[in-house]
Symmetry: C2
């Protein structure tokens, strides 16, 4: 068992089982062939060809696309699809910074393979015996990764909220952190992955932050998303990531990136380059298909 | 002008002008078609096919390959190729951690497109008015990047020296740093690129280190590689990278990675994800071709 096993979990993708999801000449996602065949039942909304899924030509504005797609997805939900319906919309766009082409229910994002975005916070404490990291244990009620180990604070980014604003909000809600303390968090880069999970295809970019916490700070679960918090030496955290599947797949990736940035992993490790290279997909973006 | 221009300089590559350089069924590099045709004159050493360049089947050991290839390269050097001959060998292998399949003169590495490795040190000072970084100005006598701005300490990794050992040596030679101070440098990850330069194809992985320097430390040029050192606010360094080509292409990449890791760049920047993704190639390694 090694860190490579965890990184491989972030790169499980069989291209031949998908066809592109295309809007305005841009590939914005990937749809499984079975799901594409299912969408044929809605020709007023989806334009299903053998080589791609698009939207009906009549749907020209973000508002009309969002409403039409929502109608189909709510019908499919009522037939039992999209476990863990959130009532929270994610943008579908050329990039994180572009205006949305439409928005779709978060629970349906992995069925369209469109991009998701999140913000994850590494909460660490510098002690005389080395770096320690605060780890959260996810509630058994969570739809994805119930009971798994996770960052102290982590969440998806819905439409209409800035990264830092969302982080500050989650720091209060998930860990009972004061706004004054939360504001000392520093952005440290991104990790990204394209991988098949139970819920579908996850193609996410996570914005990561580090926060150096005072020794007397203790996170408190306040919103029921996290059951418990633990403060562990970083070497124990890494050993657990190497030897078990206790961590949520993307939380493990965020911690591996942390370990690289803080010199916990070193060039002496024969996996070093493979690990540092695998943390991000590299040079991807929505692709022009016309 | 933006950081993206600098990152694009690290990704200039036209696949169709190269054919693979293959040893033992592994693609270990890329050779320009012109150079491949030139190597046809040495059938005892090179096996030049239209779709690949290999070594003659009789060359089965690293020692015999190294000696035979060195003979050809010295001949070509005497005809005026390989400006800046170093008399220093780089390994050619499946990965940094694998035993070399052969070693070749450093100045010829870009002609074979085999991988190079380096170690770069970000020397920074935390001042009350923010992060400052020590920048070196390369000697006009340097073969690559004469007069360009660079990390305080940076160097290629020849055969037979460990990353950290080489860094400690260069800290003394290039910046007059004490061993005690140099030992406080921390590994912080890698950057990598595959790009066409005047000297040929550069496919490098750089091992990066950070060092937090005391305010009273001043680097001193000792070995003639660096003409001068400057301590600049990190925002001035980034502005200069954005607006000029004063920095060596790979030094700019190392500083952009530093700026991401230290929160100098933030997710509010519309280039943030493109920048964080472009810092490394992602999931590459020598490719099995058999």
């Amino acid at each position: 068992m090694s860190l490579i096993d965890r990184l491989d979990e972030c790169a499980r993708f069989s291209p031949h089982t998908y066809r592109p999801f295309v809007i305005d000449g841009l590939q914005v996602g990937r749809v499984r062939h079975e799901f594409a065949r299912m969408l044929r039942a809605y020709p007023d909304v989806f334009d299903c060809r053998d080589d791609a899924v698009g939207l009906a030509a009549s749907l020209r504005t973000p508002e009309s696309r969002t409403a039409a797609v929502a109608g189909v997805l709510e019908g499919l939900r009522d037939q039992g699809m999209f476990a863990g319906w959130r009532g929270e919309h994610y943008p579908v766009s050329e990039s994180y910074y572009a205006a949305p082409l439409l928005t779709i229910e978060r629970a349906a994002v992995p069925s369209f393979g469109t991009m998701g975005y999140g913000v994850h916070l590494n909460g660490f404490v510098r002690q005389s015996d080395g770096l320690h990291m605060w780890i959260g244990k996810r509630s058994m009620q969570k739809q994805t990764g119930p009971g798994k180990l996770d960052q102290m604070v982590a969440g998806g980014l819905p439409v209409g909220i800035a990264v830092r604003e969302n982080l500050l909000k989650e720091c209060g809600e998930e860990a009972g952190m004061s706004l004054q303390l939360a504001r000392t968090a520093v952005p440290v880069g991104t990790v990204s992955y394209l991988t098949e999970r139970k819920e579908g295809l996850r193609h996410d970019v996570l914005f990561n932050y580090d926060i150096a916490l005072p020794p007397d700070f203790k996170p408190t679960p306040t919103d029921g998303e996290v059951d418990d918090f633990f403060l562990w030496p970083i070497s124990d955290v890494l050993q657990r990531i190497r030897e078990t599947e206790d961590f949520k797949f993307n939380a493990a990736l965020v911690i591996i990136d942390f370990a690289v940035r803080h010199g916990v992993l070193t060039p002496d490790d024969p996996e070093y380059i493979v690990v540092t290279e695998a943390i991000r997909l590299g040079r991807f973006s929505a692709t022009k298909v016309r």
